[in-house]
Amino acid sequence: MSYLDWTVLVATLSFIVLYGFWKTRNVNSTESYILGDRALKWHTIGLSIMATQASAITFLSTPGQGFDDGMRFAQFYFGLPLAMIILCVFVLPIFYRLKVYTAYEYLEQRFDLKTRQFTAFLFLLGRGLAAGITIYAPAIIMSVILGWSLSLTILVLGVIVIAYTVFGGTTAVSQTQKQQMIIILSGLFVAFWVIINKLPPEVSFGDAVSVAGKMGKLNVVDFKFDLDNKYNMWSALFGGTFLFLSYFGTDQSQVQRYLSGKTLTESRLGLIFNGIFKVPMQFFVLFVGIMVFMFFQFTKPPVHFNPANVEILNSKPEYRDSFALVQQNFDEVFDLKKAKITSMIAAIDSEDETQIATVKKELNVLDRRDRIIRKDVEGLLKSYEVNYPSVSSIETRDTDYVFISFVTTYLPSGLVGLLLAVIFAAAMSSVASELSSLASCTTVDFYRRYFGEKYDDQHYLRAAKMFTLMWGMAALAFAAGASLFENLIEFVNIVGSLFYGTILGVFTVGFFIKAVRGNAIFWAAIIGELCVVSIFLMDYHGIISIAYLWLNLIGCGITIIVSLILQGFMQKDTLVR
């Protein structure tokens, strides 16, 4: 990090925060704090929705996933445009007609108070934990890369975002997200351009893409049906659509984004903007990862991308020697692979199909050896952990470090600062939405629902600010203590996704099945949730095997069917009496 990088990083982040303060200096009512006076235009809504969904981990992990696993993750988003259309047709008009502040407010008007507060509670639980992780996950990586302590990184990230979110509420969130998305997209384009220019002069962009394809990295679409495969066309179109319906339709951190639209039309266009541009954006982020992969076919990469882990292995003599041996193997394979890629490019240029097929086979063998050697490093780290146990566990996978270590090692001075600002901006944009929605839900669905007319609007505005601050402090505390628990990130992601199907089931019944009333749906939701947790536990213990995207569909289905059965019984019961 040079002085220029620090200047770019600090200036970019300061601009965003000051812009947020300036734009929200007139927020003076609960409606303007929670819904921004319903004044947002479609482009702000669209960018705000995208910025909320894309956290720092999106920009750290996704290129790493492209590097490691190719492009098939792009399919994960194929159901998103369908979900956007379904929401525009069925959900938005209802939310707008009822003028709700939160998605759960609708459930009381449709069912009863206990159904509203049960779903709001599930949201607060899942999203409240997730907010801590949204800060913690990128902070681990950034602290290693910047050489800061983990606590300091968490504090810097958290305090900035809490400051402008508490001050300006949802308007501050949306207005800063617009700037953050512009910085994020321009940063990524700059990084992509630099990578292309860093390829050796004799290797064209077309050559790099062709070789990546021959190495199996450009597998964007997979039509094979396989329940156990996370990313194929069918799990995306069915499982993915349901996941995005739940996320965008019932998660207050997203619902609040489009409820602050000026009109129904502006909100619909915002969602459609997201539906059209989200898939190309994810394709591009993955493609950046593929280009980093190709860059590292010509420039020797580290055998392991997390410098903190390498330091750990070099700290003990018995591991230092083993690691040196692995490094030596890795260097040999790298040289062999580089030679093969050169002959592959020659074969492609001369359109010699037999030669291409031969080299492709040899290249894939070498690539497999490369992977095994990388796994050996992970094995060493696991063995180290057994022999030298410490309080926090070692994250042995290094894919999250691939992109950021490329950035800090190979980007010119000034651009490193810009790309770090991208990661910070992405983290802040997601946390801000989460805190703002948690506070809105707490204020509207619990606090104001309980006290009602007893207090005036100014009291509830102060309460909403206080709840934003409290959720912010809770997220910071959770992030600071997170390193004491193993596999916490995975746990929180699972907890969040276990609730989605059931909540979607409740809303689906609300929108489409008029006969079902409050009691039936409340108990159906509890039964549905228990079923989802049981299926998850069976999968976890290896009794069955099912990709987690399908859990949303199952939770939603069970909730709907059980609510119909219960409603049938309840009506019979009433008739008998």
Binding site: C88, V89, K214
Partner: protein, 37 residues
């Protein structure tokens, strides 16, 4: 509910347009995958 969209004649036409764009995009991805397999 039936607010006029700012372009095209109805919301259904806009939704159809989104689906067509998405289908074309997936088809292009398919061609991309096949071309580089």
């Amino acid at each position: 509910d039936d607010e006029q969209p700012p372009f095209l004649n109805s919301w259904n036409q806009i939704y159809a347009m989104v689906l067509i764009i998405h289908a074309v995009l997936i088809f292009l991805f398919y061609l991309f995958t096949e071309a580089h397999a």
